[in-house]
Structure formats: C-alpha cells, structure tokens
Amino acid sequence: MEQNRNWESVAPGGGTISAKHPEKSVSAAMAADGWFKAMVVLCSFVLLGMILISLSMGYLSIPIPEIARILGNKLFGILEIATPLEETFAAVIFDVRLPRILTCAAVGAALSVSGVLFQGILLNPLADPYTLGVSAGAAFGASIAILLNLGATFVSTPVFAFAGACATLFFVVYLSYSPSSKGIASGLSSNSLILSGIIVAAILSAGISFLKFIANEQVSVIIFWLMGSFASKTWINFGVVFAFLVMGFLIAICFARDLNLISLGDRAASSLGVDIKKITLLLLITGSMLAAVCVSVSGIIGFVGLLVPHMVRFVTGPDNRKLLPLSMIVGAFLLLFADTITRAVLPHEIPIGILTALTGGPVFCWIFKRSRLR
C-alpha cells in the first residue's frame, strides 16, 4: 500500500500542470485559521459585554462600575462592598439575574450546537433540534407532571419533561431504524428519521391538547410552561444545562470532521473511513440530549437551533469544526439578547418562546427566500 502514497503524475492529453505553490496555500490556510480565531475571540467579548449589560438592566438599574466592583468582591475577594445599597445590588445580581442570564446563555448555546448536529446528520441545512419530536415529548412529559400536580417540588416538571424527551427520541429512532439495511449503512436514513419525528410529534401534540382539555384549572400553567421562560431560574438549572453543554460540545467537536463527511451522505462518508453507524447514533443522541435538557429547563424555545447555525454558516462555511464553536457563542448571545429585551426593555415580560418565534420566524423567511432567489 505504501508504494501508492507518493506517486507523481503527469496529466495525459494536455492536462494542466501549473507550477505549484504549496507554501502559498499553507499561508492562505493559516490566514483563514487566524481570521476564524479572531472571530471567536471577538464574539466571546461581545457575549461577555452582553452579559454585563444584561446584568445592569432591569427593574433595578445597576451601573456597570458597581457590577464590576461586586463581581470583583464576590469572585476574587478584591474591592470591598461598603453600602447597604451595594448589598442589595449584590443580592439582585447573584440570586436573581446571574442565574437567569447564564442559564439563558447556556440554553442558547446548547440549542445552537444541537441544531448544527441535527443539520449535519439529517443532511439538511433546514433541520432543527426539534425535528425528531424531542420538544413535543418534553412538552408531553411536562404537561403530565403539571396535570398530576407533581410540580410542587421544583425538579419534577423538568425531570418529567426530560424523560418525555428521551422516550420520544428512542421511539423515533426505533421507528425509523430499518434492520434490513445491512452493512455500514447506518440504517437511519434522514428521510425516515424526519418522517418518524413528524408523526410522533403530531401524536404527542394531540396528546398535549387532550391533557389541556382535561386540565381545568392547571391549563394556564401548562400553556405558560409550553411557551418557554427563563424567569426564576436557579443556579441548579444553570449547572445542569452547563454540564450537558460542556459534554455535548466536547463530543460534537471531537467528531466534527466525521460530521462533515456524514453531511455528504452515507456512501461517501463510509468510503472515506467514517464509522457512520456508530457516529451517527452517538451524535444523534448528543444533539437530542442537549435539546431535551434545554426544553426541560426553559420550555420550548423555537428557531434558535434552526436559525443560528444557518446564519453562522454564511460566515464560516459548512465546516463543522468552525461552525460548532461559533454557533455556540452566537446562539448564547442572541438568546440572551432576546431574553434581556423581554425582561428589561418591554413593559411586560412576554414568554421568550413567543419572542424568538415572532422575530426568528420572519428572519428565517427572509433568509430562506433570499437563498431561493439566488
């Protein structure tokens, strides 16, 4: 096999052999790499800035120097807090705003990473984390928890939602898996996955309607939960989402190059040495778990997972090694931006799920139509 590694070739029949400049192509690649790193750093700073601004905004407006002083005191033990007012500020920041803001950013990041994974696996730039009915499953689980009044303890609704999402995922995978496809072929074709997802989601949403119908007084609780919200999120919420995000992102970035090949189709990927059966399933579960934990914690927040990877792809191109990190940061920023608007700018807080759908939907229509016109 070794002999094949270094064959020189001459183009027959007047092929074009031009002088090659390998050093040039290397420097071009390095320049592109540097540019990408600069983008990541820039976007991270914008995200940090957004977190600070968001901390300062709200019912009680806190000036940014105060925030810096309080953070410096609580995190690093430098700078002291003198006045009672500052004590109040510190309480607002650490007990109310920071958990909410960080949860929101983590959910935005996780949904975006999940979106990138789904778009790659389903070979479809228009897929999203909810394509496989994960959101409907979570919503169904949450509705049952609310209906049976299990929501008294703060964990049980999210736990039910998470269980619902997982059960739905495994049912959808089971439904679309065809054991008759023998070989490396994953047995999970994107068409059958999408179709199974749609069917299961339709059944579940009928189920949710039924639960609402018999729910009497809890119906408003169910409806509010379904619309999504970051109000009164705790450090525990953030911890759970963040842990999943870190795990999910590490797995995703580890297999990003394989995902590039998978997004070209089964046959191409397998002939290039990707273990598609194993990796497709692994990434499918990773993406679904990310979506499931997000929905469990914050309700159904649409369009982030669809729109962010789609927009970032215009900048980075389809290479998942770049798409994943940048989508994560941009997703965190955009969802935090939206949440800050509904929390601190609008006169009444409207559910974040409604806001993202109302703004993300039209933006998506615009991008989609523009790409059709080209």
């Binding site: 064959w7 001459v10 183009a11 092929g15 023998k182 070989g183 002939s271």
Partner: protein, 258 residues
C-alpha cells in the same frame, strides 16, 4: 493488493440482487464492469467496499476478510466514486478534496504539508485548480463529478472503485480521466473496477471485462475475448456488429438504427 470475492450473495428482502458471485481482481489491471440496469453493478461495488454486508460469502483484501477491518483501514485500501454525488452543504472544492485525506489524518491533527501538497497536486492533474475556492453546490454535474473523482484519487488507495464516474463528463474530460487511471495503474500497480455503460469506451480502455446480468457473472476475461456479438446479445439483448477498429486500436461495437 489482490481482491477476492467468494460466493457472494445479497438480497433486498426476498429479491436476490447478487447471486453466488465469485471472482478475483488482480493488481495492475483495469476492470470494466458492464451489465443492464438493475443487474447488481452498484450493489457489487457496495459489497466490495463494505458499505453493504453480504448475506453469504466474503470479500477478501489480500486474504483479510474486509468485515474484520476498521472503516479507516478499508478507506486506506479502497476508494469509491459513487453514482450519487449530490452534496447539500456549500463546502469549497478544496475542502471536498481534502476530505479524501481523512483516512490519513488523526482525529485531532490538522492536515500536514504532505496532505496539502497531495490535494493541490491532484487538483492540478484533474484540471480543477481553477475551481478551488468555488462552492461545490454551485458547480455543474460534470464539474462535481471531477471533484469527487479527484477526492478519490487523493485517497491514494491501491484499489479504486468507480461507479459510473464519468456519466456527466464531456468526452474530453472522460478521456482525460481514463488516461489518468491507466497512468496510475501502470505506476502504482493498482486495481481499478469501473462500472460504465459505454461498451466502446470499455472495449478501448479496460484490460478485462466483467459482464453482469441479474446478479450473476455472464462472462469475464480479457477484453478482446469478451467483447463479442454473442456476449452482447446475451447480456443486453441487442444485435450488434463487433470489429477491430484501426483508429481506436481496439474492438468497437456498432448498433443498427431501427
């Protein structure tokens, strides 16, 4: 690298696609695989490349059963240009061709100088350097096929499987690619299995021909022995006239216009 197929059998549900096929492919040879639609040509290549697992029988690469090899090892031995080259994501041509180096690049490594040189070299000899920065989704069918072909060349495997790899290329590029394949076989003692529909191209370029019909081998052997009126009638059910052509320096097939 020798490639042996033993009693290979494969069916979709109750429909057998490949029936008890056994044959061997040797280095330094260009095999043309021909047969009517649905005769199992693509399935045969899928079985050889390990994409499909046979119901019975085995595929041996130098005496190793390919089911015992990891996908990565297989990808270092076999490359495939498949019939379906549809790509949904706007990768640049250069990125697509770099993917041919995937089996040689470790999970966390970046492409090394050898990989990059190989990519630009392959783009040069396949004449697609000028498309380097274009998006693959914006290219024409023939251009896309040339890119996929270049990706397979970049994979530097002893065995190359081509499934109608020239179906959308013009005659100039088709001849160019065929010339490159022959060149490569001579230099690397490689094996090429090429599914194609053009009897005359096969007659002119292939060293050996394999006629497939309803999942069985109808005829296999040296091109000049196999390209005969009788075989063509038996396999494709058409009348033809076969004679040696001075200009082509090979047998050519003529068909009557009804």
């Amino acid at each position: 690298m020798e490639l042996h197929i033993q009693n290979l059998h494969f069916s979709h549900g109750d429909t057998p696609i490949i029936r008890n096929v056994s044959c061997s492919f040797f280095p330094n040879t260009f095999y043309g695989i021909l047969g009517p639609n649905g005769s199992g040509k693509t399935t045969l290549l899928d079985l050889i490349s390990g994409f499909l697992i046979p119901d019975r029988g085995q595929v041996l690469l130098d005496k190793t059963d390919i089911s015992a090899l990891t996908p990565k090892k297989i990808a270092q031995a076999l490359s495939l240009v498949s019939q379906n080259y549809y790509i949904n994501f706007p990768f640049s041509v250069e990125e697509v061709i770099m993917m041919g180096r995937h089996p040689y690049i470790d999970r966390f490594a970046h492409p090394c100088q050898t990989d990059m040189d190989r990519v630009s070299q392959v783009m040069d000899i396949t004449g697609i350097s000028h498309l380097k920065h274009r998006k693959i989704t914006e290219l024409s069918g023939g251009e896309k096929q040339r890119c996929i072909f270049a990706r397979a060349l970049c994979q530097d495997t002893p065995v190359l499987l081509l499934d109608e790899a020239f179906s959308n290329m013009d005659i100039n590029h088709t001849l160019h690619m065929l010339g490159m394949i022959r060149e490569r076989i001579k230099r690397t003692k490689g094996t090429v299995l090429c599914v194609l529909h053009d009897l005359n191209l096969a007659a002119a370029w292939a060293d050996e021909i394999l006629f497939l019909k309803s999942g069985t081998i109808q005829a296999k052997g040296k091109t000049s022995d196999i390209i005969t009126q009788e075989n063509i009638e038996q396999v494709f059910n058409v009348n033809s006239k076969v004679e040696f052509n001075e200009y082509v320096q090979a047998k050519q097939v003529y068909f009557k216009t009804v």
